[in-house]
Subunit: 490 residues, 2 copies
């Protein structure tokens, strides 16, 4: 499917007009303009405000007519009553795509609804398409960053697209991805969807080569049939994760008041998602966990899980979690036991979970993983307990009790050993083409400076989980998605 021109104008503009530029830091007319400039959009950015003046050295144009052409995209942040005129000016300037940030439309009573209808009519009369109103804005990473967004954070280009019917959920989701060094391809806060709806964005993302995984926050869909038909098609090539808002009665009412979306029956919605092989997630965090696995690991081809742990308790609760989630933790093949007997300490567990106790050498860890994947038909390995060697070595270096000259060498060696272990794990993932999922307690801990093994893994493109629960949940949902996709393609 070819994408219409207005979507290209929206996501890949050559020039941007910003209508409602302001020098007041309390206003979106200041902040969103700041974000666009700061993110480094390669083409021209034209601030517009009837009062003219400058924005930190940039000319503010008094009138959109004064702005050089062509302009593909306009961002409108002026007060509601001035939006119809702003839209007319955009039409006059030959602009194809508009983002209306301004709130107080369809979500705000009869008057707002009438205003929204007026703006829609004006746009439709000229074939201009728009995002919003009442939107947090859009982000697009390619070919050049467009951060026309309320959110202040620094974006990174990547493969996750986010379409959200709530700006603040869009912020929550993108913050979490970016924190884990997972980049974003596009982010659309769809707002009131007076014109462009979630289905239009999905059409674009379907053929968007930059987007590998799609995350949706949905309160209610306006074109249910088109929505699920699109998803059914889309999920054959790209995983779609969906968090549903308004699943309860109070939440559904709140959603109605929030963006005017009718939440409808969640039972039905859920059934439709299952049919369309959409990955429903219960929380924002789960969305990040599942997407991270889909992006960073090979296909999960079954439910048989090997567990390799540096501590008994971690193995126990991980096995519990697998079993509760419907995954299997099969007994060890005798060849694995024989192999591990050759290099593990005498009192290793001799069962799956493979409890290495405190392994003397990091090679024991990767050799154990290798034996499991070599001799058994496993579908994934959970790798528990990394990070503590590095944490201990760092304590040595900081300790007022220990002389640095004595401790520096063993500490550096220990830190380097664990870093090397991570590189080996990444190699094994490629070699065996199976997920090896690290669970590292220290995810989320402030570990400044060297030896942050979570950041090292993030940089290697491998998602580490802070708890076995998150890893197992991600594996379970990914396995389900891939299985259904394989079954459908047969």
């Amino acid at each position: 499917m070819r994408n219409p021109k207005y979507l290209k104008s929206l996501f890949e503009p050559r020039a941007i007009a910003f209508i409602g530029a302001s020098n007041n830091p309390a206003k979106w007319g200041f902040n969103i303009l700041h974000h666009i400039i700061k993110a480094g959009f390669a083409g021209p950015i034209y601030p517009v405000n009837p009062q003219g003046g400058t924005w930190f050295g940039r000319t503010i144009y008094k009138d959109l007519n004064e702005v050089p052409r062509p302009v593909d995209l306009a961002i409108i942040v002026v007060p509601g009553e001035r939006v119809p005129d702003a839209m007319r000016e955009c039409i006059g300037a030959g602009i194809q795509a508009v983002v209306i940030i301004t709130a107080g439309f369809g979500e705000a009573g009869a008057e707002g609804k009438a205003l929204e209808q007026e703006v829609l009519s004006i746009a439709q009369s000229a074939g201009v398409r728009f995002v919003g109103p009442n939107t947090m804005g859009v982000f697009s990473a390619y070919p050049s960053p467009v951060q026309a967004l309320m959110t202040a954070q620094e974006f990174k280009a990547g493969a996750v697209a986010i379409v959200t019917q709530s700006g603040n959920l869009g912020t929550s989701i993108s913050y979490r991805f970016l924190r884990r060094d997972i980049g974003i391809s596009r982010l659309i806060s769809s707002g009131n969807e007076a014109d462009l709806t979630i289905e239009d964005y999905l059409d674009y993302l379907e053929t968007d080569e930059k987007t590998k995984v799609i995350c949706l926050y949905v309160e209610g869909v306006r074109h249910g049939r088109r929505f699920f038909e699109t998803l059914r098609r889309l999920s054959d090539s790209k995983p779609v994760l969906l968090l549903k808002g308004g699943t309860g009665t109070v939440g559904a009412d709140a959603a109605m008041s929030h963006t005017g979306a009718l939440a409808g029956s969640f039972t039905l919605f859920r059934a439709m998602c299952r049919q369309a092989n959409v990955i429903l997630t219960d929380t924002v965090d789960e969305m990040i966990d599942v997407a991270g696995l889909l992006l960073s690991q090979p296909e999960v081809r079954g439910k048989r899980i090997g567990i390799v742990t540096q501590g008994g308790g971690w193995g126990v609760i991980s096995a519990d979690l697998c079993e509760a989630a419907g995954l299997e933790v099969p007994p060890l093949d005798v060849r694995v036991i024989e192999k591990l007997d050759t290099f593990l300490p005498a009192f290793w567990s001799r069962r799956n979970p493979v409890d290495l106790v405190a392994p003397g050498k990091v090679s024991m860890i990767t050799d154990s993983v290798e034996a499991l994947l070599q001799y058994m038909d496993l579908d994934a390995v959970l790798l528990l307990g990394m990070g503590y060697m590095t944490a201990r070595a760092r304590r040595w270096l900081e300790s007022p009790v220990l002389p640095l000259d004595v401790m520096e060498q063993p500490a550096r060696k220990m830190i380097a050993g664990e870093m090397q272990l991570l590189d080996l794990v990444v190699q094994q993932i490629k070699q065996f083409k199976k997920p090896i999922v690290p669970v590292i307690d220290l995810v989320g801990f402030d570990m400044e400076g060297e030896g942050n093994i979570v950041k090292h893994l993030d940089a290697l493109g491998i998602m580490a989980y802070s708890s076995a629960e998150q890893a197992v949940r991600a594996l379970t949902k990914a396995e389900d998605y891939y299985r259904k996709r394989r079954e459908k393609s047969r």
Copy 2:
């Protein structure tokens, strides 16, 4: 109940002997000794090793008999076959309490079991009591820090006690508490429980004035009746949280191999916990979330929740979560609507969740909370969306696009405003004696320097949650605990 002398010797020793001191950083004989010294134990610490020598300037005693007396506590890290002799030496030195770190006992086959029995007989012959073997060690904060523990992190004295049948789970739990600035009173890794068992530690914690909340990781109990009777009594005065390992069949087998504990039927165990008003948590993270609420907020006296949000979507999913958890999100009293109409922007939600949209002044947030708690019989308020003002202001200060001299004043003002908001929230918690629970997306984000509102709240003793899911889960479990406790005391 008075606590026997050996428990006082264990948790409040006057002097510690460390048997198996080592200069090799790869050994526990090095690291645990390091942790004890570094943590700043106030009394004398006597390293012991037949080879003698020094440990970074400290004398290593060749024989425990050479060590000055009295010594209350001995930590044993020597190889298994030498533990019986070490125990005999402890008896000779008049030591009351011993921690046997060494592994390879009851968890390691028939030979290990025999060795364990031998050590037990020796100890029992003299009335010496011991922790372990096969333990990560113990931590005690009062009166002086005893960090006889494998874990390298820096401990902080506080009100949470942890008893764990897995050392690595103990590490996972304590790391998470300490990261949130929640201090620990005692931590016991109970190991194989050859002598002292979890029930003994519970007896001590029951009368321990420093301990307000107790967290347990349990794989199997040796004295089921005593265990649950203790808990039933204990939970009347102190909340007890419990994470169960070995709830599945593979996990139960692994637990058996791990510490020799028989996991038994989880269905029965769960029913017993309910009867004893023990708070069962599904994950380590949930344990921290619930304990944080119990420690930082007033009693949750019912299920009626007010939601105040700076973004629509956050309100929607929070209402969904409350409803799914069996909490109520009651409609607004008309007096609240009238009051909020006087200061909120025209298009506020006029419903619970109270969606402030983007509040112009921070006072709108606290004024809204006040109106809710003043005019309605609510049991708690969820406060969603803080932190983004500070995040934006910090971006201004870092921005290469904006001149610092222009932005510094508004940025400082905005950061100060949000900090002040937090102080007001803490005041309101005290004033209304009801939980006001902040949900802040930025929990867990590295925000170095000023303006980390999560760290500010942590320092104020208020737990902030990174997601509504976590906050709702904590509120739900806390409400259930308090309700049962009130019902029982009637």
